[in-house]
Symmetry: C2
Subunit: 169 residues, 2 copies
Amino acid sequence: MPLTMYKLSVPAFIRGFSALGGLLDKAEAFASEKGMPLAELFEARLAPDMLPLAGQIQRASDTSKNAIGRLTTIETPRFPDEERSFAELRERIAKTVAFLETIRPGDLEGSENREVTLNFTKLKVTFTGEDYLLQFVLPNFYFHITTAYDILRHKGVPIGKADYIGGLG
Amino acid sequence: MPLTMYKLSVPAFIRGFSALGGLLDKAEAFASEKGMPLAELFEARLAPDMLPLAGQIQRASDTSKNAIGRLTTIETPRFPDEERSFAELRERIAKTVAFLETIRPGDLEGSENREVTLNFTKLKVTFTGEDYLLQFVLPNFYFHITTAYDILRHKGVPIGKADYIGGLG
């Protein structure tokens, strides 16, 4: 079976969200055991001007669904970043995964050659679909899953590498 | 041009190390400006039982070169984790990149079907080369680059997402 744009994206995203779900489970158990308000983990961040846990999950969601939107002509759902609780973060993850599960391998056929343009504040970057996925989407997606992990680890939640890679593997 | 195991690995690793090099530059400039001993950044970590900055770089190095070793019959260099300074971390990065630059696309031809077995303390996992790269190597590689970034960001080094993704892009 050849490598495909589908294999590199949708299953990887779904595995990432499965890992995230497991991290949230352990975070909730930890907070409950320590009598720590869940809001303390929800809003935890590694630097004052970095996104908190909730933001990392929202960006992982957007990175994955927007990648599909840019690599295909499929309309992607909009999620307005209004989550206020762990339950709502889980709902955001579930809605993202539900969308990803509608994607079929054929939907991404030929997307390696599709032109993708990103408009940043200061510059505009045009990629082939393949470069966009390999050089932008995957590094960004894993950035947000890892940073969610790092935030929880920094707050003392007893998680280990297997909770990150196990969910991904 | 079809997607290949080479495209998914070697160039992504080299971009990651280029991003890491840029992060070290900014970390050194920050330490010098603040009169902070470089050792404070070298040994910084996000949790007492997590690897420090140096360890994240050593693991990124091993993840990339060992992936090539497991996906081919090429002998990989051994680097004994003896780095004690920023200069030595840069040397570790340079040696890793020098090895990666010797790899040709043809070296990884057919590696998607190669059987790769990993022996962990508690279990043994066998992957196809493709699953090993997509489900283990890439998530792990980006984990260590991101955590190096997160450690420096947590210590106050003025870096931003572009320093991560820019080096990768």
